[in-house]
């Protein structure tokens, strides 16, 4: 098993915590991981992305050149990264905030014909639950459900560790909704 997941969105969408939770969960299951975050000069509202590697073997470079999976949370990231980091297997799109471009879709599917595109209405689902900030947890649910590289229980344990009781319930709910959205 070797997953290179590139996650991008805008600052405040929880892109970095999404990556961190994936990595923390993988560590709980004794996998090798690296996590590398990148963000602009803005403290709020700039671009943010992270590179997550999860493997059964030691990882040399934390840098992702060709992600196996890619998670895109908004249109600017979609336009900026999709051609640069062509995902080899799965592309997760937050359809609430990503405006897909037909030409781009055609282009990437010509290059990677076997590419699977998973569309998750993450921000809208989060909004319906009552916390627009948990769109990243909805996306996390979809990723965990689709990739099956980490168990749902492990992720729930990690969420329990990082969230206060007050907001844990809401985030768990978002996580589960994200899983269900793929069923």
């Amino acid at each position: 098993m070797y997953n290179e997941i590139f996650i991008a969105g805008s600052g405040g969408q929880g892109v970095l915590s999404l990556g961190r939770i994936l990595v923390m969960s993988a560590v709980e299951e004794n996998k090798y991981v690296t996590y590398y975050p990148s963000y602009g000069a803005e403290v709020r509202g700039g671009t943010a992305n992270c590179m997550v590697k999860i493997s059964d073997e030691p990882i040399y470079s934390p840098v992702i050149e060709h992600p196996t999976e890619m998670v895109i949370m908004n249109t600017p990231s979609y336009l900026k990264f999709i051609k640069k980091f062509l995902p080899q297997k799965i592309l997760f799109l937050n359809t609430s905030l990503v405006e897909e471009n037909e030409e781009i879709t055609r282009l990437i599917l010509t290059q990677i014909p076997q590419l699977e595109i998973i569309r998750v209405n993450a921000t809208e689902i989060a909004n319906k639950i009552g916390n627009i900030l948990s769109s990243n947890m909805v996306m996390l649910g979809s990723i965990v459900q689709k990739l099956k590289i980490i168990s749902v229980e492990t992720v729930k344990t990690v969420l329990g560790k990082i969230f206060d009781e007050k907001i844990l319930e809401l985030n768990l709910q978002a996580f589960i909704k994200g899983m269900e959205s793929l069923k």
Binding site: V27, Y32, V33, T34, P37, S61, V63
Partner: protein
């Protein structure tokens, strides 16, 4: 214990486990996690945390603490380290042990806040005025950052010399697992005799007063001091070189890289090996003292070297000195915060093979 740690936090935990007494610094990206962590944790441990008014002040506070024999640390990033050079020269002149971290970013000038390896020259050539060296350690994993931070005080105190730990902003920001139970990444500093502390200033009680100085005005006095420092530097060169070899046993091409560049290079090495190309990596861990003779030994058999750096080509000068004309030395690198990429490197290697 096994922990998922960010590079910069691993430095903090290593320094605390190594017995840090005081930390002084001025804010600069990309190393602010270090100050934030120490600000929270050090007061709880009755250690000193102080945000200085500038890097100049920070390095001189380090100077003040170091001369009492206590363990002082400062951290900064490239532009801030430039400001500290005066203080580092004084620390070396006065022979005061301390630990300085440079989480390197792009330059020159304000540059950017991306990771880089553009301070190789500055770190390995003293950096300030006068004839001196600091011991320079280049970790390439979060575990190594932890171990180097922990053991660097011993190295500094053994030789009464500042130790610099330099890594790029990428390594500082990345997270991976640190298992403190394993020996992996340890420097294994040998302390063969008790560390002499009969020079520290802590009040002249039951002893003669002492002075700390780098000023030697009497006829020939400074020259004598410089020769004394040279003897020390020679001893460090003889005893403290650290270097790691990967797949060099049958290699026909050798990559030389440190820090993050070495990680990317290692990925290229294993990809190329799968294609049947006999390639290896030499990774200097101490950038000063540099592993000249270790590289020369390999250059007797291998005739092609590729130096990979995140700069315009700085360590390549040391590699050329090391191979001393008996092998060809090529370069692949990116300055300005650009990350080297394994695929570009692979192309480069195929083009010279």
């Amino acid at each position: 214990m096994k922990k998922l740690l960010q590079g910069n936090i691993a430095f903090c935990e290593g320094a605390i486990d190594g017995g840090l007494d005081a930390y002084y610094a001025y804010p600069i990206t990309p190393q602010n996690e270090i100050s934030a962590y120490f600000a929270k944790v050090l007061p709880q441990k009755n250690k000193v945390f102080l945000q200085a008014e500038s890097e100049l002040a920070a390095i001189n506070m380090v100077f003040g603490t170091a001369l009492t024999g206590k363990r002082a640390v400062t951290s900064s990033s490239s532009p801030g380290i430039s400001l500290m050079q005066e203080g580092i020269s004084y620390l070396c002149g006065c022979e005061l042990p301390c630990v300085i971290v440079n989480v390197m970013r792009g330059g020159p000038g304000l540059g950017n806040i991306s990771g880089s390896q553009q301070d190789y020259f500055q770190s390995t050539r003293g950096g300030g005025h006068g004839d001196y060296y600091t011991i320079v350690l280049a970790p390439f994993s979060v575990k190594e950052i932890y171990e180097f931070a922990k053991e660097s005080f011993l190295l500094a105190e053994k030789y009464r010399n500042p130790v610099m730990i330099i890594y790029d902003g990428y390594l500082g920001q990345m997270m991976e697992v640190v298992d403190t139970e394993t020996d992996d990444g340890k420097l294994n500093v040998i302390i063969d005799k008790p560390i002499d502390k009969n020079w520290v200033l802590d009040g002249a009680k039951d002893r003669q007063p002492r002075k700390i100085r780098s000023l030697f005005m009497a006829e020939g006095e400074l020259e004598q001091h410089n020769w004394k420092l040279k003897n020390k530097y020679d001893k460090i060169k003889e005893k403290e070189v650290r270097v790691k070899f990967y797949e060099t046993h049958d290699a026909e091409i050798i990559i030389v890289a440190f820090g993050m560049s070495a990680r990317v290079s290692l990925e290229a090495v294993y990809k190329l090996r799968r294609e049947g190309i006999k390639i290896g990596l030499i990774r200097p861990i101490t950038l000063w003292p540099f592993p000249y003779s270790e590289i020369y030994e390999i250059a007797k058999k291998v005739k092609k070297f590729v130096v990979v750096e995140m700069n315009l080509g700085q360590m390549i000068e040391d590699v050329k000195l090391a191979v001393n004309g008996i092998a060809e030395v090529y370069f692949y690198g990116r300055p300005g915060g650009g990350l080297v990429e394994s695929e570009e490197l692979i192309q480069k290697i195929k083009s010279i093979k």
